[in-house]
Amino acid sequence: MSELRTVDVAEVEAVVRKLCVEANHELREDHVAALQRGRDAEESPIGREVFDRLLENARVSAAEQIAFCQDTGYAVVFLTIGQDVHFTGGSLAEAIDRGVAEGYSDGYLRASLVRSPVDRVNTGDNTPAMVHYDLVPGADIELTLLVKGAGCDNMSALRMLTPAAGVEGMKRFVVETIEKAGPSASPPVTVGIGMGGTFDRAAVLAKRALTRDPTGSPSPDPKLAELEAELVEAINATGIGPAGFGGTVTTVAVHVEAYPTHIAAFPVAINLDCHSHRVRSVTL
């Protein structure tokens, strides 16, 4: 057992602020490399032009310190907290929200959240953050920020398959979801797939799968890695292509996460992320 560690929530606030700005202004190097690989593999001339513009856009946004996508998204935070950590200085959740509000204001980022799907009044500062907490042994804190645009989130899907549908049924569901999304998900997409758990857990797994570092890294489980490679091929065979204008590269990465499930169940959640893939992680 580690010693009790004290962390002021102001430290978390500052980190969240910084990550919100960085994630929106600078496309990750590994994702830039993934886009460059996509550009090299793409057979469609229009598709290659789309890749060129995406790469140029990333250079301009970093140089000008402006957002590379106008949908600066929902701030989704995955916090893995060692159980020997003691937070001081106030509410952790409120500190995260302050960090988001400061980052979105300082970075000239768009406030994209409304306080309710019914009345649709903008909260004005892009809060609240969507936080997922995991408690683990030890005294480390891992914080991952995923800036999630809605265009591609809207094209995501969850289905409760039967065990009989099996992996083949899951693959059909993935391709069907990608085809239905077409250009609206802003391909080339990163695909996060959560299999197993329960209805709710599958969705969180799918979202978490999008944060895997670096982009395109295969699952450490050989069976899942093989499945990921098969899905990349199946998705790219749809012909949707960059921006949906037709081509051979519709996805740059598929990440599958699996979790124990019920004998009667096979939940599958598919969360799509557009070519503006924004993930940042730190260990505090």
Partner: protein, 179 residues
């Protein structure tokens, strides 16, 4: 191909054509469109003359000091499908966005002569450089979703739905489909 808005001859463009657009466009997203329809139903004027106009589906980020506008890439057009036919019937000449339109919108566009352009989502920083002026003309309370009058110059886009029934989102992927 360089096009000036409003286009002299909209029938001259074809799905898949790469174009640059210059002229005036109005920004509007779902929330602004809902208000357009309320205005139409109440018999009130729209905040701009829709006859011959171009709508760009976008909700920009705030402008940095010294910038005309923030990042300004296209948003998903289909969220406005429920509203677009009413504007197309009133003479809307073009729309700029991303993603497919539904059958009803496409039929209305063919009938009344409206072209749909696809801009490349995720190139919002680059596209903002093609916007030379911006002013809010309506619904300021909607913030990023307010209606803005923009002047654009050499704004790159692709023709998605032309006046001949062509649809780049059908034709393009069909060429590369391997299943």
């Amino acid at each position: 191909m360089n096009l000036t808005l409003p286009m002299d001859d909209p029938s001259s463009v074809h799905a898949g054509d790469s174009v640059t657009l210059s002229g005036t466009v109005y920004t509007a997203r779902d929330a602004a469109h809902a208000r357009f329809l309320e205005a139409i139903e109440a018999g009130e004027d729209l905040p701009f003359d829709v006859e011959g106009a171009t709508i760009y589906f976008v909700g920009p980020t705030p402008a940095r000091p010294g910038h005309v506008i923030g990042s300004a890439g296209p948003t998903t057009a289909s969220r406005c499908d429920a509203y677009s036919p009413a504007l197309v019937e009133r003479g809307l000449a073009a729309m700029i966005g991303k993603g497919r339109r539904n059958a009803e919108v496409k039929a209305s566009m063919l009938e009344h002569g409206c072209v749909y352009f696809g801009a490349i989502e995720g190139t919002a920083a680059l596209l903002s450089q093609c916007i030379t002026s911006a002013e809010i003309v309506a619904y300021e309370d909607l913030g990023a979703e307010a209606v803005r009058k923009l002047t654009i110059a050499n704004f790159p886009a692709l023709v998605v739905n032309d006046l001949h029934g062509g649809d780049l989102y059908d034709d393009g992927p069909a060429r590369y489909r391997r299943v």
